[in-house]
């Protein structure tokens, strides 16, 4: 297409400014959500720094519902932050990737 206004690293500043103005609400909502997500990730990875943990153990420690913890574990595993460890009873333990 050869849009001259585009630099290699992203979009024109004016465009971004206009978009940010138009999507204020979304940006506020998502930013709050990301802040919350970062906190959760930090608490889960913080717990895992102490050693391998199962989902119920993490849930107990960080005060989240086990199903939320599992969702985060699955997500962090997908992006290479967490690895599956040994099985402990009916549950698998998870650990941090190096």
């Amino acid at each position: 297409m050869g849009n001259e206004q585009e630099t290699k690293k992203g979009v024109d500043k004016e465009v971004m400014k206009a978009l940010r103005a138009a999507r204020q609400e979304t940006i506020r909502r998502v930013s709050a959500q990301v802040k919350e997500q970062k906190k959760i990730i930090a608490s889960i990875t913080g717990e895992l720094k102490k050693g391998p943990r199962t989902v119920p153990e993490i849930a107990d420690a960080v005060g989240l519902l086990p199903r939320e913890v599992l969702w985060w574990i699955a997500s962090l595993k997908k992006y290479g932050v967490v690895l599956e460890g040994e099985k402990q009873g009916a549950y698998f333990a998870y650990r941090l990737a190096e």
Partner: protein
């Protein structure tokens, strides 16, 4: 709306699932030019989201991805993904004229090289419907690992415009202000292969309305069984426990007038048996139950598949489950009538899979002049001799769009639709030549 473009082909295929792809490949192999319009960001339809398929237990990807690749690389096939069909009509010269709205991916399709740097660096985690919502993807991502095309998509509703993706993209492909595009497609014939969708879990109060965490849909179970599923193994979603007892509840939304779906969804018996078999491989000590009314193992090799499942120790209970309730510690209780031993009883399972009802994936009403039957699926004038014909001359339909069908039957019907479309093309081209 951005620019409006008109494209011309011999044939238009609506839907890039297995039926649409097969129809496109059959037409293209006969040297006709074909455009495939797909609503999703990737072609592949329901099949590419499955784990393995009955009755051969081939992995779904092993069958689908080569067909996806073949379509993507065929000289005669153009793929338009992330496109909604707005209208389709026949013009006064008898040609099919379709208006398609290409949704913005916020990524330049020609520039994106599928490196996933945007996805890795995006800070926003959002539930991934392609993983049954059991894990996250990012606000910008490649839809799934074997998606075609390998082009990222951004969800503007989950984007805070932080600019990270644009910064890390090596080819400058991110376009935050991309606009939807209108495309007009002209073709001599069309094949509609819009597939099916599944009734929501919320629809049945007796089954918990979607509030019981360990009651999941069959498509979610497909993801748990799939090689790159959310957990890479079968765990119950409430807490990650490996389940010891798993139950399948058949007709959970089909053959049920109280839910408005009196018809049989045709594929659920077989996929439940298949999932049960895969589970007994993945969890050798687990007890697996299938609650059914009639086992409909009707296709080639299906009855033998069913008998194999019985021989493997999968327990078939002839009963329609009436009530599903949460039990202790994440367990799920099902209530049913044991018809031979003493009547009403309950059983407790770690994980319950619902074979929900299947409904049409697309409704032609207001978009084109196709007719549907009382079941909502596309109907035609010759259901016996030419099941793929529709009331619109030159427009054909195949696969689950014309009534629910398994993969084998969908593929055969797609080829049949391609044959009818090819013959229609042949006669139209002759007529056009005669005029010229």
């Amino acid at each position: 709306m951005g620019t409006c473009q008109t494209l011309s082909y011999d044939a238009l295929v609506v839907g890039g699932g297995i039926a649409g792809l097969q129809a496109a490949l059959d037409l293209a192999d006969q040297d006709y030019s074909v455009v495939v319009v797909e609503r999703d960001a990737s072609i592949g339809g329901t099949m590419i989201r499955l784990s393995k398929v009955f009755p051969t237990l081939d992995c779904a990807s092993c069958i689908t991805t080569p067909k996806m690749a073949a379509a993507a690389h065929h000289d005669k096939i153009t793929l338009l993904t992330y496109c909604e069909l707005e209208t389709m009509e026949r013009d006064d010269r008898g040609r099919v004229r379709a208006v398609v709205r290409q949704k913005p991916r916020y990524v330049d399709e020609d520039k994106c090289i599928g490196c996933r740097q945007c996805e890795y660096h995006c800070p926003v985690y959002v539930p991934d419907p392609d993983q049954g919502n059991f894990a996250a993807r990012k606000a910008i991502c490649i839809p799934f690992s074997n998606a075609v095309p390998q082009v990222a998509v951004m969800d503007p509703e989950s984007c805070m415009l932080c600019g990270t993706c644009a910064k890390v993209c090596p080819t400058g492909a991110v376009v935050y202000d991309q606009q939807p595009r209108k495309i007009v497609i002209e073709a001599l014939t069309a094949v509609v292969a819009t597939g099916f969708s599944v009734t929501p879990l919320e629809d049945k109060a007796q089954y918990g309305s979607g509030t019981i965490p360990n009651v999941i849909t069959a498509l979610q179970m497909e993801r748990l069984l799939a090689p790159h599923g959310p957990y890479n193994r079968v765990l119950r979603p409430s807490d990650g426990m490996e389940p010891d007892s798993i139950a399948f509840v058949q007709c959970a939304g089909s053959r049920d007038k109280s839910m408005g779906i009196p018809y049989c969804s045709r594929i659920c018996c077989m996929y439940a048996i298949k999932q049960a078999m895969l589970l007994s491989g993945a969890l050798p000590v687990a007890d697996i139950f299938i609650y059914y009314m009639d086992i409909r193992a009707f296709g080639k090799g299906y009855e033998q598949f069913f008998q194999n499942a019985r021989a493997m120790g999968i327990q078939f209970v002839k009963a329609k489950v009436a009530l599903i309730e949460p039990g202790e510690d994440g367990a799920v209780t099902v209530r049913y009538e044991d018809q031979l031993n003493g009547g009403t009883t309950t059983a407790s399972h770690d994980l319950v899979v619902l074979s929900l009802g299947k409904v049409p994936g697309w409704n032609p009403e207001g978009r084109c002049a196709l007719t549907v039957g009382p079941d909502g699926f596309i109907s035609g004038p010759e259901p016996k001799l030419a099941p793929t014909r529709t009331v619109e001359e030159g427009i054909f339909a195949a696969g689950a769009a014309v009534g629910l069908k398994d993969i084998v039957d969908s593929i055969a019907e797609a080829s049949a639709a391609a044959m009818h479309a090819a013959n229609y093309l042949q006669s139209r081209k002759k007529a056009l030549e005669a005029v010229a």
